[in-house]
Amino acid sequence: MDADALLMQKVKDGDDRAFDLLINRYKKPLINFVYRMVHDPALAEELAQEVFFRVYLARHRYTPSARFSTWLFTVATNTTLKHLRKSKRWVREAELSGDSGDGGGALDRLGAVSGEGAFEAVEREELGILVRQALGQLPEKEKVALTLRKYEDCSYQEIAEIMRCSVAAIKTHIHRGKLRLREILLRMERRLDPAASQRQV
């Protein structure tokens, strides 16, 4: 039994401090996971709190056969998607406004961001906006699968358990998501710098 499962067992036995430890361990990844779905920091935090609340209410139903993180992200996925479907707050990001100023393509700039430059903060902020916009345009299943794979380092099997579908379906979602992400970023690049994209073609 892993450490999380032990903590959850204590929570089941009435130890609230153990639940506090679990919150501390998972609140940051959980908030960011939700944030990548809803693109609203305040809402992401609120939904993450709702997830912990639900997990606490369902503590007696937890069985250590599944990893705690898998269970947690299953609850998080359901809670987030339910909220999105209910409120229809899909973030179809608006067209990029303004000129990037440096003339580089979106993908090139994304690839070059690891090198620290004088305008690191600006680059990072721009990168964040671009990625957020790109993720916002993905269909929900592809977005969930990509997010779990990329940010939570989940295996295909774990993602399949969280999303309640087959491993083959998860692979399909991730492959399509990657292709779509590439297309979205290329489209952004063409909008930002038509000349650069023409040079590539």
Binding site: E45, A48, L130, V131
Partner: protein, 197 residues
Amino acid sequence: MNCEQTRKTILVLDDGPDPDLEDQVNRHLEGCEDCRRFRRQLHQAWEALDGAPVLEPSADFNRRVWQRIEARRESPAAGLWRSIWPVSRMPLAGWAALLVLAMAGGFLAYQVHRQSPPAAVQFTAGDLQDSQMLLELDTLMSVDETEFLNTFQEWDLSRDSAPAEEEAPAASPGQNKPDPVPGSQNMSRLATRAFSA
């Protein structure tokens, strides 16, 4: 391996290494600039996700989670009720449909109830008289009617129905023939009425 197969294989190779497939892809990539660019862009897009903004939880995150839990603890009945009757889960349309059904049911029930119960049977004077006659007939029938009819004669219904004044002279004077069966004439009248009814 053509370009389409190569691009599919590039995606598959991201799932896990496969030396044979990798060799085939590399052979294609050596002579295909488009597929090389495809692979580069695909990896750049994947790595770009590392640049997504990262949020830090607020300082009172845990406290707010516990506030929710405490609120539920203070009103467990509400939680129990919600689990039994998922009020919040039912959309407005559901409630509207339920209301319409309830109203329709109520209206139907009202209509059925409004229809007055079958009116009490009102007996007329004629009915009472008939009833009386039937009782009398029943009493008279206690005598073996068949034997009575065979012993005397066929009934002359027309005679029976004649007025009493005309009937009296028909009898021979001094022969005050007794009624063979008490009340038989009365009975014939009753029978006439009964058959003609």
